[in-house]
Amino acid sequence: MANIRQIKDRGMNITFFCIATASITILFTISVFLFVEGLPIFKVVSVKNFIFGTYWYPTSDPPDFGIFPMIIGSLVVTILSAAISIPLGVMTAVYLAEIATVKIRELVKPIVELLAALPSVVIGFFGMVIVAPFLQNILDISTGLNIFNASLMLAFMSVPTICSISEDAIYSVPANLKEASLALGATHLETIARVILPASISGISTAIILGMSRAVGETMVVLMVAGGAAMVPSSIFDPARPMPASIAAEMAEAPFRGDHYYALFATGIVLFVFTFIFNIVAEHIAHKYRQVGEASL
């Protein structure tokens, strides 16, 4: 009998192992595909000229494949949206976890999380039809489809991620830490700033990086709202073309396995490297500042 039990057990182990590795296999296959389809472009253009070239004319003769304006576009949009969404997200999280009454917390948190459920195309449309003309009129700029508008829309999208994960991190700070701080005579504000936030910094950092990697990879919003000019922007009210927008706009009609097609996949590789770095940094921070017991504060 024991034999059958052992076999059953072994069977279960293998089944679960297969299921667990399925997603890794899929990810690995996609990355291999990405590199296979993207690398041939470097026979036509050098890596340096591809990354630092400032002209993107994939269909003219001779073509130019320089994605520097797109890389800058992605970076600027991501950084600016982080500058908007981090304070908003983290402060909302602090309020919800520490200051708000249970009733308000239970009301507000689902609403903030609902923001994440909005399809990105809806946010993009909102930015294009409502926010863009508004910015144009208020600021008297030539176009409302610009970096600022895109960053604002992306911030809307990353706030729920940042807020929700940070709130969990803050909420799970052991109560005795907080009580000890208050018992030593610290005010509520001091407790939040000196005890609670440092204790939950690992969770908050993860939240921020996840929010930012959502922003850097987001396609629909930047395609609709960022304007799409393939040049290095000189102000935050200039239009820009982040990498995902470039891929989405041109992939549909790029000749299959032509240079243009390879160049778009190579842009995908650069984007992949970006999000990969983001995730490694997040992992590193989460690991480094992990709260081990209460003594390490």
Partner: protein
């Protein structure tokens, strides 16, 4: 159990017998992505009326389409340009004779916001605006405001026409905004008082104002008589004079009440 086997066997046999029948009339269409929407719409309607014909359509560009018709790997080649001398020579060498059929016209109209006082731009002015040389509306008779230039993604057929006819192969300057579809350009221009864009004739609506080019209004009539400068004919090529299903399909494309009606719906100018 035996009965079950029999049923399965019969079904399998039926399936194998039915397969060749279902693909009896099989048409392959390849080529220009500009003509693709026309081919798709017409093919859908055609297959609905002729369920025994199956049509497979793919893009790949005019060059690839014409190459495929010369090599005989497709029945019909879509092309947004006429066949080149080099290609005719290649076809002659291989002993094939591509036959062109004009199926529609592509007409691209420059548009501005309805409140913009500018009514007409010359081809040279359009070129200068899209090259980034003319940056202000007052240089072309408008208000003292910066021109917001909106262009299409470089792989679209619309961009191809614009690049060929207006830019004369020169490059649209990198500061031009990019929108990924005709509809998105119209939307962006409708929301921006100082924008200029270009869209296919079929996408014009009341929220944008179509400009005249060299004082010619873009319309079906001016496109067909060749006076509107930003237009071009679209072709389908066959290998030799078409026969059977191919000629039936081409006739369908050219029928005013069927194919040509769908040409209009796809945003192009029909022949009749």
């Amino acid at each position: 159990m035996k009965k079950m086997h029999f049923v399965i066997l019969t079904l399998t046999l039926l399936f194998f017998c039915a397969t060749p029948l279902a693909f009896a009339g099989k048409l392959v269409i390849k080529g220009s992505t500009t003509v693709l929407p026309i081919a798709q719409k017409v093919a859908e309607a055609y297959m609905k009326e002729n369920p025994d014909t199956s049509i497979s359509i793919s893009g790949g560009g005019s060059g690839n389409g014409i190459k495929a018709i010369i090599d005989g790997t497709t029945d019909i080649a879509d092309s947004s340009r006429f066949i080149k001398d080099k290609e005719v020579k290649l076809a002659m060498e291989k002993g094939t004779y591509p036959v062109p059929f004009r199926v529609a016209y592509d007409c691209i109209v420059p548009i501005v916001h309805p409140s913009n006082p500018v009514k007409n731009l010359t081809m040279d002015q359009l070129k200068a605006i899209y090259k980034g040389e003319v940056k202000d509306w007052k240089e072309v008779g408008g208000p003292n405001k910066k021109i917001v230039v909106i262009s299409r993604d470089t792989s679209s057929g619309t961009y191809e026409v614009w690049e060929g006819k207006v830019m004369k192969k020169e490059r649209v300057y990198p500061g031009a905004l990019l929108q990924a579809s005709n509809g998105a350009v119209a939307q962006a221009v409708a929301k921006n008082k100082y924008a200029v864009g270009y869209i296919g004739f079929g996408y014009l609506n009341k929220d944008v104002k179509a400009l005249t080019v060299n004082s010619v209004t873009g319309s079906s009539a001016t496109t067909l008589d060749g006076t509107f400068p930003i237009s071009r004919p679209l072709f389908m090529f066959t290998q030799g004079w078409p026969e059977g299903d191919i000629v039936k399909f081409l006739n369908y494309v050219l029928r005013p009440d069927k194919g040509q009606k769908l040409v209009g719906e796809a945003g192009f100018v029909p022949l009749y």
